[in-house]
């Protein structure tokens, strides 16, 4: 006689079927392409990969990508922390408008985001003449790439922190203030420590996107090799030139950066059980 099934448990065939479906789907759309990237990259051996990655243009692209992330991520971390603090802990008119505004980069196509910057800062744009007069280059230069990346990765930290802070409420802050703590002291000693894991999590997601952003950056970059090419753009150029080994080698490097970010995120979740289960 078989053991009676737990009352809320699904029958075996259903469990197997659903699990197989999910795993099969994951393998097809996630694992297989990822594997293909590495297989293609190493088609002509490790030497070719090293060659492609150490090519001066590739190194310039890697440097630019790291620089962009190094500026965009801290900026959005600080902004996200401020915005979520204001939204979650305070009541003010226009609050729901601000929340919508923060979500805007998620709802707008990255290409449109790029075009906005071209329209505003480009040669024929609103500030075009003023910028030329002062010899400041934004579009088709590094500042434009950083601006576009900041725009696209704007919501990650704030979106992570707002629900967390709202859930925590304001009782601890009130307690601190009732004991004589100033607003700033309360923020650093009470609010910030309570969201530090969520903040790190948001920063990691923001970083992953900042390094991988293609659309918006593609519009403002101008694709000048060795100057305004980020890693994703460099991959595209190599691919369009039928340099498959080169394209896939840089892509593999980009994948490794993404995987490293995800591993870090996994480690974070192990270190901090409270973050677990609140996935995306």
């Amino acid at each position: 006689m078989s053991r009676a099934r737990h009352p809320t448990e699904d029958p075996l065939w259903a469990k197997v079927l659903i699990t197989a479906l999910v795993l099969g789907f994951l393998a097809l759309v996630l694992l297989l392409p990822l594997a293909a990237v590495f297989v293609e990259a190493f088609r002509r051996g490790a030497g070719a990969v090293m060659g492609a990655v150490s090519n001066p243009d590739a190194i310039a692209a890697i440097k630019l990508t790291l620089l962009t992330a190094a500026i965009a991520v801290p900026f959005n971390a600080v902004f996200g922390l401020c915005a979520s603090w204001a939204i979650a802990k305070h009541e003010f008119p226009g609050k729901s408008f601000l929340i919508t505004l923060i979500d805007l980069p998620f709802s707008v196509s990255p290409v449109v985001a790029g075009l906005i910057y071209v329209l505003v800062f480009g040669m024929q744009g609103w500030f075009g003449e003023a910028l030329i007069d002062h010899d400041i280059k934004i579009v088709f230069a590094v500042p434009g790439i950083i601006l576009a990346t900041v725009f696209v990765t704007f919501p990650f930290v704030a979106r992570e922190l707002i629900p967390l802070m709202q859930e925590q409420g304001t009782a601890e802050e009130e307690a601190a203030i009732s004991m004589g703590a100033s607003g700033l002291y309360t923020f650093w000693r009470v609010t910030a420590p309570n969201v530090r894991w969520g903040l790190l999590y948001g920063v990691l997601l923001c970083n992953a996107r900042a390094m991988g952003e293609f659309g918006a950056v593609s519009v403002v970059s101008g694709h000048i090799r060795g100057l305004t090419n980020t890693m994703p753009l460099h991959v595209e150029i190599l691919y369009n030139e039928y340099d498959f080994v080169g394209a896939f080698s840089v892509a593999a490097l980009l994948c490794l950066l993404a995987v490293a970010t995800l591993v870090l995120k996994g480690l974070l979740e192990i270190a901090q059980p409270a973050v677990r289960g609140r996935g995306h």
Binding site: A171, E172, A176, I177, S178, M179, G180, A181, R189
Partner: protein
């Protein structure tokens, strides 16, 4: 520290939370703010604390106007409903917080802070647990930490919002005694909010009963129980049978019950009779039929219906109910009824 609240109004949007509330609290008093949810009791407590500013009216601490002074300036100790302990700090750090935030000359030395924390943890019987984190404590222990944290700043007034709400019955009972002990030991003026009348009546020197943003009555537990000022107080404090009827020429008549109603204006009225104020037999008795008897310890609860069909509960000594049987006719009388015109 005496506290005076004078004609305080507070609205949240279009919803009035406090409506012309005035209250005097004596130095060293233990006062309960009792009322159903939404009665404004927590808003009143937060207004006293300086966590809310009133729209109109005044709050005075020892004669000084503190209506718009910050909580820190008032030197209040506030115990929050869910304790609001700092999760990432140890118990000792939590208790020391109010001293750690001080600046310059006001800030005690490290050794003094440690000493004070140890004293307080001893007072709430948590000595030795200073190194733990709040998540490693039971509900009752967290409550004690919150209490000692509030006391650390030597507050002029200790304010507690539903201090025992989140605890189970046994812990609640022992902590109630503890709060009384700590209040008596420190002598600090204490105000606590509760919706539990038993808690308010058992612990406080005086009880202020709130309903719909206004104070219905303030008095000692005996006063509000024995001489309720309004129908609301009568129904809220202690058990009471509520009978609808009419008063004519000093006599209440309703639900098959006649009661003397001296001084009550003629017209529709509502009579409250406490179950334990009813007796079997006696003068001016009314007729009823016994529906159910349930014995609880030394007393028996009788569920009866009057000749007009009103359901009434009476509590009598167990011995008196021993030879009663369900369905039999009874005579009940009361020497004490509270009758309010409606």
């Amino acid at each position: 520290m005496t506290i005076s609240i004078r004609s305080v109004d507070k609205r949240f949007g279009r919803y009035p939370a406090l409506n012309d509330v005035s209250l005097e609290i004596a130095d060293g008093e233990l006062l309960a703010l009792l009322g159903p949810s939404g009665s404004g009791k927590t808003t009143l407590l937060r207004t006293i604390a300086g966590l809310e500013f009133p729209d109109a009216g005044q709050v005075l601490f020892g004669g000084e106007d503190v209506t718009y002074a910050s909580a820190a300036k008032r030197r209040v100790g506030f115990v929050f409903q869910q304790y609001a302990l700092f999760k990432h700090m140890t118990v000792a750090k939590n208790v020391a917080f109010g001293l750690d935030v001080r600046k310059g000359r006001e800030k005690p030395s490290k050794a003094d802070i440690t000493k004070r924390v140890d004293e307080l943890l001893k007072l709430v019987e948590l000595d030795g647990l200073g190194g733990r984190y709040p998540s490693q404590l039971s509900g009752g222990q967290r409550q004690r930490v919150a209490l000692s944290r509030a006391l650390a700043v030597s507050p002029s007034v200790l304010l507690l919002d539903e201090p025992f709400g989140a605890l189970d019955a046994t812990v609640r009972k022992s902590l109630r005694k503890e709060l009384r002990r700590i209040h008596d030991a420190t002598g600090v003026t204490t105000i606590f909010v509760t919706h539990d009348q038993e808690e308010a009546m058992g612990l406080a020197d005086r009880v202020a009963i709130l309903n719909a943003g206004a104070i219905e009555q303030v008095g000692t537990p005996d006063e509000v129980h024995d001489s309720p000022a309004t129908a609301f107080v009568c129904g809220f404090v202690g058990d009471a049978n509520r009978i609808e009827g009419l008063v004519a020429a000093g006599v209440f008549n309703g639900g098959g019950v006649k009661l003397p109603a001296k001084g009550v204006a003629d017209g529709p009225a509502c009579a409250f009779v406490r179950p334990y104020d009813l007796a079997l037999g006696g003068a001016n008795a009314f007729a009823a039929t016994l529906q159910r008897v349930s014995v609880q310890g030394a007393v028996a609860h009788l569920d009866v219906t009057t000749s007009a069909g009103a359901a009434i509960e009476a509590v009598v000594a167990r011995a008196e109910a021993s030879n009663l049987s369900v369905g039999q006719p009874l005579k009940l009388s009361t020497a004490k009824a509270h009758i309010f015109p409606v």
